[in-house]
């Protein structure tokens, strides 16, 4: 690898070496160039001064800014912007700061105590944390700034009623050569399509069942390090791997010590279809050591897990006023280990289960309509406990419809309905969310 990087370096050195002989004439030429440039700059300055005068004159003529024909506020005369700010944007002495309020009103056809205990039998015993009525999901503080020419730093600090936490705090390298980038700290893993997205940017109020069943309701947020590589191929291909502490309570070990013991790898590829359509797809895999109490109530599982998956996204965005996103993922999780009950009796458990979702979002002007279908146990529903295959009734599934009103880029009002048949008890959970998300502060750029 090192050698490959050195070869072009040698070539460059060799080229520059050939000029050393006539260095004097080159310096002279450079001086001439500098003189000419100086003359040009002076001429420019004159143009700008002249411009200033003329424009101040027109500014005095006052621009009519509104129908009410208010005069423009004074001091709107032109100023050459001079020095460039970060990304041609606002000056950056302080970090970019934004604050996002994520709040909802929730109702369900099932009572609250049942909701808290309503897991997905055979998958996970984690219930719902949503309370009926008004909920404050979080007030999220987001910080970003370049550290120096080598690192960018991001932090996401959600404030909840129970205090603040560091959801993410990570650096990204900006100066590594050859398309490499390192991320480190605490971050949302980039292994799948939805995992790295913040809750306020989700397409629905909740994550698909497969995420809930295999990773818990928040996905995979871990301390660790990530290496990604973007080769200069004819089409977009990104390769990534992560080494994670492995503290996720569903697939790893909540009380992880002697880590790291979580690992992920992913490939994402993309091609454009015409001017306005984009395809993104790729496989991913993760694995690690598991110690969890989320398999079933009163039982402790120790063993190993692997999860394999595939993501695919199609986006069509011909203009600001119209877009269509169709997206789906398939995941299969395999686990192998022992399950011991409260009395300490242990038996071998092997699970191989899968899940998928497919969703579509259609935006027209300020409205967006969403539909999603989720399902578990599609091709795989193996649950082998002590040599006996157990089944947990019909396959868990859910259907979702949502409508959003996005009055500006900084506010979102969403009404969502879930027809949820994932409780394994034959009961339907009819859920309704009315969600309001508001953001103030810096305008963050949107990842694809």
């Amino acid at each position: 690898m090192k050698r490959l990087i050195l070869i072009p370096l040698f070539v460059c050195l060799a080229c520059s070496g050939s000029f050393a002989s006539d260095i004097e004439s080159r310096v002279k030429a450079m001086e001439d160039i500098l003189k000419k440039q100086q003359q040009m700059i002076d001429a420019q300055q004159k143009v700008i001064e002249q411009l200033k005068g003329e424009l101040e004159a027109t500014a005095k003529k006052q621009e009519t800014l509104t129908v009410a024909e208010k005069p423009a506020s004074p001091g709107t005369g032109p100023k050459p912007s001079g020095a460039s700010a970060l990304f041609g944007g606002s000056f950056m002495t302080n970090p970019y700061i934004s604050f996002i309020l994520d709040t909802n009103f929730y109702s369900s056809s099932i009572n609250e105590r049942e909701l808290a205990n309503r897991g997905i039998p055979g998958y996970s015993n984690l219930g719902f944390e949503q309370k009926k009525g008004f909920n404050l999901t979080a007030g999220e503080l987001f910080l970003f700034a370049p550290v120096d020419p080598y690192f960018n730093l991001y932090a996401t600090i959600p404030f909840t009623e129970n205090g603040a936490s560091i959801e993410e705090a990570f650096f990204l390298t900006t100066d590594l050569p050859q398309g490499f980038q390192v991320k480190g700290g605490k971050f949302k893993s980039n292994f799948s399509r939805l995992n790295a997205q913040h809750p306020h940017t989700w397409d629905f109020a909740d994550l698909p069942l497969a995420y809930r069943a295999f990773l818990g309701g928040e996905g995979l947020i871990e301390k660790g390090a990530q290496l990604t590589y973007l080769p200069g191929l004819p089409f977009y291909t990104i390769l990534g791997m992560e080494v994670l502490q492995g503290e996720n309570e569903v697939i790893f070990n909540k009380n992880a010590t002697g880590g790291p013991h979580g690992f992920t790898g992913f490939v994402k590829q993309s091609i454009d279809v015409g001017d306005y359509s984009t395809l993104l797809f790729g496989p991913y895999a993760m694995g690690g050591q598991t110690r969890t109490t989320t398999v079933a109530n009163g039982a402790f599982f120790r063993g190993n897990s692997q999860l394999y998956g595939f993501e695919a996204v199609y986006k069509w965005k011909p203009s600001k006023y119209k877009s269509l996103i169709i997206q789906g993922e398939y995941m299969v999780r395999k686990q192998d280990g022992t399950l011991s009950n409260a009395l300490g009796a242990a038996s071998g458990l092997t699970r191989a289960q899968d899940g998928a979702y497919v969703q579509a979002l259609y935006q027209v002007d300020r409205w967006r309509f969403g539909a999603r279908y989720d399902r578990l146990s599609i091709f795989n529903s193996e649950y082998d406990l002590g040599g006996v295959d157990r089944q947990f009734g019909p396959a868990p599934w859910r259907a979702t419809g949502a409508v959003e009103l996005n009055l500006s880029e900084f506010s979102r009002l969403r009404l969502q309905y879930n027809y949820d048949r994932s409780g394994g008890d034959g009961k339907t959970n009819n859920e309704v969310y009315l969600q309001l998300i508001l953001g103030i502060g810096a305008h963050s750029a949107h990842a694809f």
């Binding site: 490959l4 072009p8 160039i33 040009m40 420019q44 143009v47 700008i48 411009l51 200033k52 027109t58 621009e63 009519t64 509104t66 129908v67 506020s73 004074p74 709107t76 032109p78 100023k79 050459p80 912007s81 001079g82 460039s84 700010a85 970060l86 990304f87 041609g88 944007g89 606002s90 370049p146 020419p149 990204l172 900006t174 100066d175 590594l176 050569p177 398309g179 990604t228 973007l230 080769p231 200069g232 191929l233 089409f235 977009y236 993309s270 091609i271 454009d272 001017d275 306005y276 984009t278 203009s319 600001k320 002007d365 300020r366 500006s408 305008h443 750029a445 949107h446 990842a447 694809f448």
Partner: protein
Amino acid sequence: MRRTAPISLIIVLLFMGSASAGINVVATLPWIGSMVAEVGRDKINVTVLVRPGQDPHMVEARPSMVLASRKADMIAYNGLDLEIGYLPILIESSRNPAIQPGKAGNFDCSRFVSVLEKPASVDRSMGDVHPLGNPHYHLSPRNMKSIVVGIARGLGEVDPANAAFYRANGTSLVKMIEERQKMWTNKPLKGKKYLTYHKFFEYLASEYGFEIVGYIEAKPGIPPSSGHIEGLMELSKRVRLDGILTTSSSPRKAPDFIAGRTGLKVIMLPQDVGAVPGAVDWFSLMDLIIAALS
């Protein structure tokens, strides 16, 4: 030997990005790409990210754009926060040290511009106001002259071997702009009054002495209410207007409605190079716009 050929080819592909000669420039907007191409000619390859009919504020950072930025020696952009929704993420995800902020390959055209409408104070209740001033400065020949000089200098920094070539092209382009300006300033635009949908034409107005007396958008990025449209129609009774200016990236409904009720004509102006078949470069874009106004 035969074995090594494909291997070295792969190495070239992986480490040189694109195998074609010349430096690679990525431009966010069509006019930037077009101007950079005029200055760089055959010494550079230009990739333009935003399509002519797209609203330059609201663009998706497509992976293909990340890939183009990864292979670029220079990224040239409009600045003044116009591309704030996608440019920072493109630059960061490009994993390309050459185009990071502060490097010669990070070229912000707005550095060479005198900015209009820099507000003394801004908050978002005013809509999507640009705190750094109006970013649609490319229809101003005066600004374009200093931008062209800037581009020539910027290309020279990235590719010193051809610096003189770029400078010569820059100089002749400035001359061309001055030639055309004589023609454009002779057009009878002074004193005309228009409504516009979005603040696209303020620089043009200030340079050619026509006035924009009302906006169909209630606030930048916020669509009009019926009361606002009523107000505009009232205005058109009091003030003699010469038409309604709009572009293909703005909605047609409200301008057409007002036109239907007041008898004003809607003048569709191309907002960028390539937006209409005739606008092949910045010069023909300006020709078309000035012709449509006069």
